[in-house]
Symmetry: C2
Subunit: 276 residues, 2 copies
C-alpha cells in the first residue's frame, strides 16, 4: 500500500487520497441462486446490484460518482431479460446521480454474475469508517429493520442524502451499512472499533409483522431492506427518537460498551437511559 | 454523464477528471470454464485476472493505482486453491505497484467468478484512446503475436512501462490492448477511429511454431499472450523496426486507411512502404 491509501480492505469502501478530496472505492457482486432467484424481476435485480454499492458509499458519508458494471451471462438468458436488468441498473444510477462509465460482459457456463464497482467522493477528514466507535457512544439505526423478508430486499433505497446530512451535522464516530442484518453486522462494527455493545431488542424499529423475539437466522432472510446507519454520536443526536431532516427516522437502539460484551437484551431503552 | 466524465463506456477504460490528473477506471472478469479451466494453476489464474485490467490501464497510457477484487466461489473450492489464487493476484499487484484496496467474497452455486477493478492515472491530455487513429497512421504491435496457444495466455505481462515510454515520447494517436487477437481487436480500433486498415500478414511478428497463414479462429485461441500496442504514430517512430528503449520490440504491420477497408494482405511490408 502506498501513502495515498487512507483505508484498505475491511471496511465498506476503500479510501484513497486524490489531489482534492478523498476517493471511495467499492466493488460488490450478486449471484443468481444466492442473492436473487432466476424468476426475480430483472429490473429490480439490476436496481439492487447498483444500490448495494451506492449504499456502501453512503455508509462512509460519501457521494457516489462513477460505476462500472461487469456481467457474466448464461447463454440461455433472453435479450429482454438483459434489457430489463440494465434498465434497473440505469434507473438506480440516474436516481443517485451516478455515471455508468463502463464495464464488461462475459459468458457464464453457470449462473448469472453481476458485479458493480463504484467510486465515490468524501471531503478530507469527513469519511466515517466502522472503526471509530467509542465506549459510551449511542447506537442508532435509520429506518426499520426486517424488510427483506417480504422480498423487499431487491427494492431498497440507499440512504445517500440522509448519511450526508448526518455526517455534515453531527460528530458521527462510526457508521456502517446493514447488509446482513443487525445480528451479523453489529459485531463487525464493534470488532472494528475494539468495543462491545448492548442493544435493547424492545427498541428495534421493526417492520409490521415482525416481533423482536422472532429473529431470523438464515443468511438470505437476514439480508435487510435498507441501508441503516448506526451512528454512535454525541448527546445532540440522541435518546428522543425525533426525526431529523430529511425525513430520516433515527432510532436509538443501544450503546457501545467495553470490548467483549455483545448483548441483545430483552429490556427496553430505559435501561440504557438509566446507565448514562 | 456529468462533465467530469471525459470518456464513458466503449474504450479500454473510462476516463474521469479528478482535481489533479485524469482517473482511469477499468473492470474486468474471468469465469471458470470460459477464461480458464478448473485444473489451471490458481496462482496464474489470479495473475491473469489482475493483469488483464492492468493491461487495459496501460493501453490508455496510464499508470495503474488501486485494485478491488470480487470473487464468487464454489463451496467445494479448497482453501489451498484460494490461497494460491490470491497469491497470484498479490504477485501481479506488487509487480506493477498496484494497491489491493478491497473487494468482496460471495458464494457461487456454479463456476468460480473473479472480477478485478482497477483505477489508474493519466496526465491531463495524455491518455490515448482507441478512437484517435487517422488515415495514413502507421500501425504497430509490441512483442509477438500468438502466444496464447501454448497456455501462455495465463502468464502474460502487461506493458505498463513500455506504454508510458511510448506515450511520453511520440504523438501516439490511438492505442489498444490486444485481448481477443488482432483479427478481432483491430476492427474495433478502426471502427472507433472511423478508419479502415491494411495489415501485411507477412510482417506479423509471430511466436515460434506459428505461420502467418495459420490463423486461429476460436475465441479462446485468439486470446493473446501480451498486451500489444498498435500505435499509429508519426514518422519518427516507424518503418525500420528498431527497438526503442525499454527493450520494446515494436513492429510496423500496416497502415490505417479510408474507412470501410479491413484488409489482411499476404503481401509484405514493402507494399506499405511503397504506398507512403
Amino acid at each position: 500500500m502506498d501513502r495515498r491509501v487512507v483505508l484498505g480492505p475491511g471496511d465498506d469502501c476503500a479510501v484513497v487520497k486524490t489531489a482534492g478530496n478523498l476517493q471511495l472505492l467499492k466493488s460488490d457482486c450478486i449471484v443468481e441462486g444466492i442473492h436473487f432467484l432466476a424468476d426475480a424481476d430483472p429490473m429490480w435485480v439490476g436496481w439492487k446490484a447498483m444500490c448495494r454499492s451506492i449504499s456502501d458509499i453512503a455508509s462512509m458519508g460519501g457521494l457516489p460518482l462513477d460505476a462500472l458494471v461487469t456481467v457474466a451471462i448464461r447463454s440461455d438468458v433472453e435479450f429482454e431479460w438483459l434489457k430489463e436488468l440494465y434498465r434497473g441498473l440505469r434507473k438506480a444510477a440516474s436516481t443517485y446521480l451516478v455515471n455508468l462509465v463502463g464495464g464488461e460482459t462475459a459468458r457464464s457456463p453457470g449462473p448469472l454474475f453481476l458485479s458493480v464497482t463504484l467510486t465515490g467522493m468524501a471531503e478530507k477528514g469527513k469519511y466515517v469508517s466502522r472503526s471509530g466507535g467509542r465506549r459510551g457512544d449511542w447506537l442508532f439505526v435509520t429506518g426499520k429493520l426486517g424488510g427483506s423478508i417480504d422480498g423487499k430486499h431487491l427494492r431498497f433505497s440507499p440512504r445517500v442524502r440522509e448519511a450526508r446530512w448526518l455526517v455534515g451535522r453531527f460528530p458521527i464516530h462510526a457508521m456502517m451499512d446493514l447488509s446482513d442484518g443487525l445480528g451479523s453486522d453489529l459485531p463487525r462494527l464493534a470488532a472494528a472499533s475494539g468495543v462491545g455493545f448492548e442493544v435493547a431488542l424492545k427498541n428495534l424499529p421493526l417492520n409490521k409483522g415482525l416481533r423482536s423475539g422472532k429473529r431470523s437466522t438464515g443468511r438470505r432472510r437476514l439480508r435487510t431492506a435498507f441501508s441503516r446507519f448506526r451512528g454512535p454520536s454525541n448527546r445532540a443526536l440522541n435518546s428522543n427518537g425525533r426525526k431529523p431532516s430529511p425525513g430520516l427516522q433515527l432510532t436509538p437502539i443501544g450503546r457501545l460498551v467495553d470490548s467483549g460484551r455483545y448483548e441483545f437484551e430483552q429490556k427496553g431503552f430505559d435501561h440504557f437511559r438509566g446507565s448514562t
